[in-house]
Subunit: 99 residues, 2 copies
């Protein structure tokens, strides 16, 4: 598989690995989102320094207001995190070019 294909497969299998935990394999419950974020994004969680981070994330992403995240809502989280990563990447690139 190519790097992008690997990434796409990762996103799908990762979502379902956590979504399958409480039996409903279609959405992430609050408990599952909590487990996904604490397991998969430990550094991000540390930088937030707010015990309500997970709760806020769910509230922000849960477009249909069912207190769960479906795959599309999970992709919004991935997009937000990717954008943040890209900003950091560009800052480092800029610093490097100024040296």
């Amino acid at each position: 598989m190519t790097e992008l294909e690997t990434c796409l497969v990762s996103l799908v299998t990762l979502f379902h690995r956590y979504a399958d935990e409480d039996g409903d394999g279609m959405t992430l419950s609050k408990k599952e989102v909590n487990k996904l974020i604490t397991t998969e994004l430990p550094i991000f969680l540390k930088t937030q320094n707010d015990p309500k981070t997970v709760e806020k994330i769910i509230k922000d992403l849960d477009e249909n207001g069912d207190d769960k995240l479906d795959f599309k809502e999970f992709l919004s989280l991935v997009a937000g995190l990717s954008n943040a990563c890209e900003k950091i990447f560009m800052l480092h690139k800029l610093k490097k070019s100024k040296k």
Copy 2:
């Protein structure tokens, strides 16, 4: 790095690897999108069976109409492909559960 962190870093570095090719490291030109898709998504491209696929993708994703794709527009491609992958994944899961 966790699986999700690896995936986020992959998306950023992959975008910039192709965006850097013609000097402008901030966006993907048509030529760069073409190279990214033919290199990273060979199976997807085969299934489309349309010589204008790349052109159509750019037209669909290029929200600001500058004939280039920035990182946010690239993420829309990733989201579209992930959604398609997830549909296939769910179909396989359904078939398996019926056996």
